[in-house]
């Protein structure tokens, strides 16, 4: 078997700049990330933390790359589930591309591609967990940008 990896693509009717802002603004993240928010200054080398509403730390890591509004890479480890934390750090990349639009149809879409995999060779529980979480978070993010509301609350 190849190493477990989560890959997800979604198209959003928005601009790359608005999508980048939604991925990096704590107040916006709070709206779609199921009660979780992120803290970071989003500069390469800076710490990054996901926190629950009550202030507990969910996940920690480091910004590896940040090229607004195109590419964000985070080194990422779970902190609140010992069996996931034991699998060590993962690497999550988020790529934003403007999809050219079809002139006869109008409209345009931004393509967001998420790749998430462990740095190490051993373990699958972390990737299983994010495979459940990402579709919820990204569905909510798309709804928020297109309709002003999330698909469902936390």
């Amino acid at each position: 078997m190849s190493k477990p990896k989560f890959v997800y693509v979604t198209y959003v009717r928005t601009t790359p700049e608005k999508l980048w802002a939604a991925l990096t603004d704590p107040q916006t993240i709070r709206k779609y990330w199921l009660g979780i928010t992120a803290e970071s200054d989003w500069k390469p080398g800076s710490p990054w933390t996901l926190k629950f509403e009550d202030g507990r730390t969910a996940d920690t890591g480091e910004i590896l790359e940040a090229v607004a509004p195109r590419r964000l890479v985070i080194r990422w480890r779970n902190e609140f589930r010992p069996e996931l934390k034991a699998e060590g750090y993962s690497r999550c990349s988020m790529e934003i591309e403007m999809a050219d639009y079809y002139p006869d149809r109008g409209g345009k879409a931004v393509k967001l591609t998420i790749h998430h995999e462990l740095e190490g060779e051993v373990g699958s529980k972390f990737i299983e967990a994010v495979s459940v979480g990402w579709p919820k978070v990204l569905s909510n993010l798309k709804s928020l940008l297109e309709t002003g509301d999330v698909a469902f609350a936390a």
Partner: protein, 159 residues
């Protein structure tokens, strides 16, 4: 575990399962988000699912294997126009109520190793399903990336 290709995609849609079911099975709705394709899939097991391109060309005619509205739909998948020589694969749609809305899981499997169709549908489904979510939530589907040949072919293969 098998290494045979399998595509899985989950999306959450702010619409009831009945509306998602209609969007998957009724051509008047599919053509609004599925790149203009008219997809007919509202028959019983043993009936045919068909998909017709905006130019009126038949691109799919496959058996419906399971139809349990609004929960589970399974049909065969062979691209008559793009890859007529590759044997049929299988698409499963699972719809579940979730917080008053719908969790839609699409599983596309039963491919041979090295399948060309698998590569195409892996690009096509995210575009089709993103557009369907937009259509059901905002009344407008998406028209992504049609100037990009790879995505255009994949999207057409996704119909």
């Amino acid at each position: 575990m098998s290494d045979k290709p399998k595509f899985v995609y989950v999306t959450y849609i702010a619409a009831p399962p009945e509306k998602v079911w209609e969007a998957l099975t009724k051509p008047d709705i599919s053509e609004k988000y599925w790149f203009g394709y008219r997809v007919v899939a509202d028959g019983k097991p043993g009936d045919q699912m068909t998909a017709t391109s905006p130019a009126g060309k038949l691109s799919h005619r496959d058996p419906i294997l399971v139809s349990d509205p609004p929960r589970r739909l399974v049909y065969g998948w062979k691209a008559l126009d793009k890859l007529p020589d590759e044997r049929a694969s299988r698409v499963t749609f699972e719809l579940a109520p979730f917080n008053g809305q719908t969790r839609l899981t699409v599983i596309h499997d039963d491919f041979d190793e090295g399948s060309k169709m698998f590569e195409m549908i892996s690009k096509g489904w995210p575009a089709v399903l993103s557009s369907m979510k937009s259509f059901l939530e905002t009344g407008r589907g998406l028209a992504p990336s049609w100037d990009d040949e790879a995505t255009r072919c994949a999207a057409e293969a996704g119909a």
